[in-house]
């Protein structure tokens, strides 16, 4: 098997969502060219363009998909290709992570030598609802109709269950989530690409309106528009292009498993009963597989970027990534050890908390941050400790998961 590495990553500024922005394909082409230039590559040298699709709503029953579902091909038209495979990947909020994993796999098998992974999204605003298609009813529209359960309802129910299983009052996890927001906002303020620059105190967060108890408004990410691009290469070629290639130690993809005890987003019911011993098994599977592929274990992880659609996600991701008892996660956060000077920096990008969610393109924030952190290029956000290995995790509706482990390649 070949090695693969990232030679460049670029992201756009994250901006407000829910209304038309400058043409997305123009913004995508711009950020793709930025990544190609950093990689000192011409589009003609690419073997593949792999893009995430988008969450942009369809708005007329007689329109055949939106062109935003075909960004790989449209980007190829814009920047020009000679002989590149064009692939679009759809996996809810984990889309970009899975596009990245696909590029990594194609390089590792020797099928291609280089790939541009790119994507951009403009999210729906507010609660992500669902409409009934005239041709194929959306089961989630039925779930909302019957249960009134929005995405934050599920996150809130997970948070309450965690508190219950730990035997703790709900106020404890509420405060912990508020503190996570405070920590993330400190780094968002230092990130020129982040949309939200305000630093929130724990008190600010707990004073914001309750959306779904125990989740307050500022514990839930906003909805944004933004995107990014990364150039991936065969490991040997990457070394000739840059002095600081970031190796892809592993990239994995997960799915909705039978027997997951925790109701996943947008479902009426769990499937298969509680055959897993601990909840969130399907969150752990791609992580455990990535550790195996990379030949490492949780103790080797120096820095984490995790998909924090809510502050509960950050807490849960640390539980699942580190494989600790939950009390260990809480202690780490309470002792302020997830900052740039902490034992285990988490979301020094500022996280989705500071960017807002450009649904399908979120992984670019995390990949960009790990790339800059490992190369010691994160400026004011740079972790103080010596970094060798970073891990990022993506989470999406319908049981979409991705995990990427990056390491210094020099």
């Amino acid at each position: 098997m070949k090695n693969s590495a990232i030679v460049s990553v670029a992201i756009t500024e994250w901006t407000a969502a829910g209304s038309p922005t400058p043409l997305l394909i123009d913004r995508l082409a711009e950020v793709a060219v930025k990544a190609l230039r950093e990689a000192k590559m011409k589009p003609g040298q690419l073997d593949a363009i792999i893009a995430n699709t988008t969450a942009i709503p369809f708005d007329n029953k007689s329109y055949i998909t939106t062109s935003a579902q075909h960004f790989a091909h449209r980007l190829a038209e814009r920047i020009g290709i000679k002989d590149a495979q064009c692939i679009n990947v759809c996996a809810a909020c984990a889309s970009a992570s899975i596009a990245f994993a696909l590029a990594d796999s194609l390089i590792k098998t020797g099928s291609i030598k280089s790939a541009l992974v790119a994507g951009i999204d403009n999210s729906p605003s507010g609660f992500y609802l669902a409409g009934q298609s005239v041709l194929d009813p959306d089961p989630y529209a039925a779930v909302i109709k019957v249960t009134g359960a929005t995405n934050p309802s599920y996150w809130a129910m997970w948070a309450r269950r965690r508190a219950y299983e730990m035997g703790e009052p709900i106020e404890k996890i509420k405060e912990l989530m508020a503190f996570v927001k405070e920590m993330h906002s400190v780094y968002g303020a230092r990130n020129p690409y982040a949309r939200y620059k305000r630093i929130f105190s724990t008190k600010d967060v707990l004073s914001s309106p309750v959306v779904c108890d125990p989740l307050h408004l500022y514990m839930i990410c906003g909805t944004s528009t933004g995107g990014g691009a990364a150039v991936l290469m065969d490991g040997e070629i990457a070394k000739k292009i840059t002095e600081k290639p970031v190796n892809i130690a592993a990239s994995t993809v997960g799915g909705p498993i039978y027997g997951e005890p925790m109701p996943r987003l947008r479902v009426f019911s769990t499937v298969g009963g509680k055959s897993a011993e601990k909840p969130f098994k399907e969150w752990r599977i791609p992580i455990e597989r990535a550790y195996k592929l990379a030949g490492i274990n949780a103790d080797d992880i120096d820095i984490i970027e995790c998909h924090d659609t809510s502050c509960f996600h950050t807490i849960n991701w640390i539980d699942q990534i580190m494989g600790w008892e939950r009390e260990e996660t809480d202690k780490l956060i309470e002792k302020k050890q997830i900052g740039h000077d902490g034992i285990l920096p988490v979301n020094l990008s500022g996280g989705t908390a500071s960017f807002g969610e450009a649904v399908m393109s979120q992984a670019f924030i995390m990949i960009h941050e790990l790339f800059r952190q490992l190369r010691n290029e994160a400026q004011e956000r740079q972790a103080k400790k010596n970094l060798n290995i970073g891990l990022c995790t993506a989470y999406g509706a319908y049981g979409a998961y991705g995990c990427i482990i990056l390491e210094k390649g020099w």
Binding site: F127, L129, K145, V146, A149, S269, G272
Partner: protein
Amino acid sequence: MKRKIPIIDGLFEWPSDNPRLIGTKCPLCGSVQFPKSSVCNNPECDHSAPLTECFLSTEGHLYTYTVHHYDLPEPFQYHKGPYIVGAIELPEGLIIISKIRAPNEKILKIGMKMRLKVDVLYEDDNNAYLNYFFEPVISE
């Protein structure tokens, strides 16, 4: 008198004095699904037999819940905050998402016994739309 109709067909028995949720069960491996499905979902099953319709237990335990404080916009505007959404663990092993009917959320405790109730979710000029809910079993 308005016509009472289920908000979605096929989720629960109707008309019925004691409606139950309708699922499917695989005659080979026993895997139960809600709502109904046309194929078995157990990865260890060979999927060689058609599923049979089954009725789910009407009592379970509260696995977790939340109070949703915001109204939903149209066409879901009848979900007016605050309302309670919960997850009910049934003896079949499944955990079902449901609106919870309770005098107030303070009486809810994870692990408490809950019972199915089919009731009106909302009405328009002509119809009353029925839905399934779970409510706490306070005392027997």
